[in-house]
Symmetry: none
Subunit: 247 residues, 2 copies
DNA sequence: CAGTGGTCTAGACCACCGG
DNA sequence: CGGTGGTCTAGACCACTGC
């Protein structure tokens, strides 16, 4: 009960990926040639090569490391991630991870319909009174927020909404556990817009400053859209960055 | 010698993926429950389960099939793949999928250094005089362009640049064939910015209108960044949309 | 050349799903 | 319950890199 509640057992390769990711972000392997070879990792963590490779495959997909037959594994230069606020993201897990050293606090609002400017962007019959939330996300040690987020949760999930912890890292993570649904796919729409007064104020921006809006729709296994979120980011201080492997 | 020249030997799992992909697209497994299980595939193709799983992993990443423990593998309905706008961004070809019914014409410019606002965003020692191109992308039947694109090609690729067809769909596709390099990864940075006068004019926008900038870096197999491109899209009329499958 | 990561085999146990 | 896909082991051979 200390940290995690019902902590399901993670596969070994994901644990290993977490450990290695932390080490990389900590700067342990900052010099080229520092990153351990597969065989070293096998011995050090006492796992098979398969497990090591699955973990490294994950880090590769995240863009943290690069691998080359014959030469070895190298971590990607930190500068690529340090510049502005870069958020690598290739799967939903990493949307979560993006909440790494940031904090957010949501406030529930009055249930209502999805606003027009959002509804028109997602072709949908999102009828009914959805539960609303609003929050500001800040990065540790930074003054101005990196995002304002509005979220809407499906009317049928009232039970889950009632138990939501306002200070958790992400809403949909909680919805998953509390509402007994699980995300199977997410759609994202990214657009540059003029912020409303309220959003500009919350982000600490001037009138006319551009805002990046990321609109996400979360679908469960029955393909029901159970959460919609809109995040507004300051254009100058925030870049959404992603990484695509070609195989 | 017929189609491909030096056809290197493909790994078995990629060949298998090709065979299965063809079968799926041919409609062989259109009924749910038709797709063979792993063990069946192992026997049929006389390969180990590892090989089968690698092949299926590829098809999963392409969004062709879905797998669930306990139940099996099913092919995704064609509708999930046909939606022009929501395509999983799992490979480079699909990044430029939005180039589908659009046309672009590039104009070469004077070789020069990478501009500051671009260089600072990508961690790089992109020194030297890169070849520059600039083009407007328009959608058929539309008046105003949906993008202005600037691109820089690595100084060493002079030979390829000399042969570039100014009216092709994408630059990097040509660079690949002409320059004998192949894309292995791409990074993308998406940001909301204020457009410069020139860009606003080209896009048909007013002063103060927000612009979406997509900055891409293309890397070859030696991890050399051989092309950089910056696309500027009108904030109000353009949304970058993507689809993420959860694993 | 020795060592790297890429491919591949033949097993194994497990969590989950359906009947 | 039997069969599915998910995880994992302990081997093997290979293509490629760097020295």
């Amino acid at each position: 009960m200390a940290t995690k509640s019902s902590a399901k057992k993670k596969p070994r390769y994901l644990e290993l990926a977490d450990e290695l990711r932390e080490a990389v972000l900590r700067g342990d392997y900052s010099d080229p040639g520092d990153f351990p070879t597969e065989s070293v990792l096998c011995k050090k963590y006492d796992v098979s090569r398969f497990t090591v490779r699955e973990a490294l495959r994950k880090l590769t997909a995240e863009g943290l490391i690069t691998r080359k037959r014959g030469s070895g594994t190298v971590v990607q230069p930190a500068t690529a991630r340090a510049g502005a606020l870069h958020q690598p993201l290739s799967n939903v897990g990493e949307i979560l991870q993006y909440a790494h050293d940031t904090t957010i606090s949501f406030e529930p609002g009055k249930p209502g319909a999805i606003p027009h400017d959002v509804a028109e962007q997602i072709d949908t019959k999102a009828k009914g009174d959805w539960f609303t939330f609003r929050g500001k996300r800040t990065k540790l040690g930074r003054k101005r927020p990196i995002a304002v987020t509005e979220a809407w949760v499906h009317p049928e999930l009232a039970d889950a909404v009632a138990q939501i912890d306002i200070n958790a890292k992400t809403l949909f993570g909680q919805i998953e556990t509390l509402g007994q649904v699980s995300v199977t796919r997410v759609t994202q729409d990214i657009q540059a817009i003029k912020g409303t007064k309220k959003i500009l104020a919350d982000l600490g921006l001037e009138k006319g400053d551009p805002v990046l809006r990321i609109l996400r729709c979360y679908f469960d296994e029955t393909d029901r859209m159970f959460e919609i979120s809109a995040s507004y980011h300051p254009g100058e201080r925030f870049a959404y960055s992603m990484h695509i492997e070609v195989d």
